[in-house]
């Protein structure tokens, strides 16, 4: 029998091929599309295509006409760390309009922000494991995350999008058993970090999939203006809480974990991962100190203005969210906000993807995207 030989179509004769990853893909953390040019299994080029979740935050911010009305929309920028988005925005407005905030509110904001940071990192770590085929850590992370959400729900009334921090203070008073609840969580959570380390951090399959993959050198990271665990994973000790302190972070004693290349090269996926794990311990330290120092008495709405009187001016304020530097650039007029730009860490960190995924395998691309820990709401706003 003669073998049928048909001429190969031109498309098949080409050496490289372009494939789509997303916008519906289980490991793109939302609606991200990556145009990947591959040569066999090797990624030649990875071009992210974003905007599938562009929800017009900036248009809303300037159309609503009032600084206070923008707060719920900031929640929805990066919905995994909603409190940080609120806090960054509110701090910017307070700085611009020169509003003094009571001490108790500052402490409360820090405690909530750090709880949220742990919750966010738990989700980031859990889904990172999920991307690489480890399902159990995801479930373990979510058990702990639910505990934090329960505390936050008791405080604010919502599980995910809180709308709790408002210009000049907090939406309502702190529940009486907040301190005891938080202490209970801290004491229960410490041993769980060890458990998580046993499950994932030192797991040889996990190390195999993440060490020496997606290496981001420090100078490239700085040139791309990377921030958060992405920058610290590359060995740069840069944390806005310490280097450009805001709120009352200068009162607490904590360390900045950086990537040291313990299992591979400095700045690989594993380093970015371990920075997040260690940051959770640092957050616990901050919460403990803040709980000890926080005054028990005091009105949390003392400085909340009835109607926010706007001033003409502009400001750029940056804060440290779980994903890195969140900046709000506010131009304000007498009538209210004129232009608000949110510079989100997810957006900037994702723009590095083409630079660090060249030459990686397709399966490694999943690890790299997971290690950047993007939230598409933050990327697209």
């Amino acid at each position: 029998m003669a073998r049928i030989t048909s001429p190969q179509p031109a498309e098949l004769q080409k050496k490289t091929m372009t494939i789509n990853m997303g916008p519906q893909h289980p490991s793109t953390h939302g609606v991200l599309r990556i145009e990947v040019t591959v040569d066999g299994e090797v990624v030649k080029k990875a071009k992210p295509d974003i905007g599938y979740l562009h929800r017009c935050f900036e248009k809303y911010a300037e159309s609503l006409g009032d600084f206070a009305k923008v707060v719920p929309y900031t929640d929805r920028i990066d919905y995994v760390s909603a409190l940080h988005q609120e806090m960054g925005y509110v701090i910017a407005v307070e700085k611009l309009l020169e509003i003094e905030v009571p001490e108790r509110v500052e402490y409360m904001r820090v405690i909530l922000a750090e709880l949220q940071r742990i919750a966010s990192h738990l989700l980031g770590i859990g889904t990172f494991g999920l991307d690489l085929g480890a399902f159990t850590p995801f479930l373990y992370c979510f058990i702990e995350r639910e505990k934090i959400l329960r505390i936050l729900e008791k405080v604010s009334g919502a599980r995910l999008l809180y709308n709790y921090i408002c210009v000049g203070g907090l939406m309502r008073d702190i529940p009486e058993d907040f301190k005891s609840d938080t202490w209970e969580f801290i004491n229960g959570f410490r041993p769980k970090i060890k458990e998580l380390n046993d499950l994932l951090t030192t797991n040889s399959i996990f190390i195999e999939r993440t060490a020496n993959i997606g290496v981001l050198p420090a100078e490239v990271a700085l040139n791309y203006s990377a921030s958060g665990p992405m920058l610290r994973g590359s060995g740069v000790s840069w944390d806005i809480r310490k280097n450009d302190s805001y709120s009352i972070y200068d009162r607490f004693d904590f360390d900045i974990p950086v990537g040291k290349g313990e299992v591979g090269t400095v700045g690989d996926c594993w380093d970015r991962y371990i920075v997040r794990v260690r940051e959770m311990e640092e957050s616990l330290k901050i919460i403990e100190q803040a709980l000890d120092q926080m005054p028990d008495e005091g009105d949390v709405q003392e400085a909340v203005p009835r109607r926010i009187r706007s001033k003409e001016g502009e400001i750029y304020v940056r804060t440290e969210t779980p994903r890195g530097e969140l900046g709000y650039y506010i131009i304000s007029e007498k009538s209210g906000p004129y232009r608000i730009k949110a510079r989100t860490p997810s957006f900037v960190n994702l723009s590095i993807l083409p630079a660090i995924s060249k030459g990686a395998l397709v399966a490694d691309l999943v690890a790299i995207v997971g290690s950047i820990d993007i939230v598409l709401g933050g990327v697209d706003r």
């Binding site: 916008p23 519906q24 939302g30 609606v31 929800r55 599980r159």
Partner: protein, 180 residues
Amino acid sequence: MGLLDKKYHDSNIIIVSLESALNWARKSSLWYEQFGLACCAIEMMATAASDYDFDRFGVIPRSSPRQADVMIVAGTVTMKMASRIERLYEQMSEPRYVISMGSCSNSGGPYWEHGYHVLKGVDKVIPVDVYVPGCPPRPEALLEGFLKLQDRITNESIIEPKVSEESEKKTTGKEPVGAE
């Protein structure tokens, strides 16, 4: 076997109509298309994870639309995404169901006024069976949505053929549950 263990003396035959047996099987293994859009996706993940545990209703995530029975539209649908959602829906094999989760996919939610790039309700591109309100809905609310969908499946009949997609669109779809 739990509840049924050692309860029958001789044979263990249950007489039931084919229809209800089929529907019982279908409603107890609703596999959902795993793709999150926005904030609601995080709550969807929370529902699937340890505390709320989707699996006990037989609800399991699938990564491909071709293996899925139900699509949860969890989050804001934008203009750029709308055509993709339509395509994903077309790729699902019948019978297929859609749960619209959260205010954004129900009606545009908080983005209905100035959201130039936001689709004001996913029902503009695909038919929806169950609407779950909330911004974002609690995991309990999503579970309730699934129970409502199970109710709907229980009442479906094999005698009358399922309305085809075209006429479904023409007659503005079935009476949606919880639309009011």
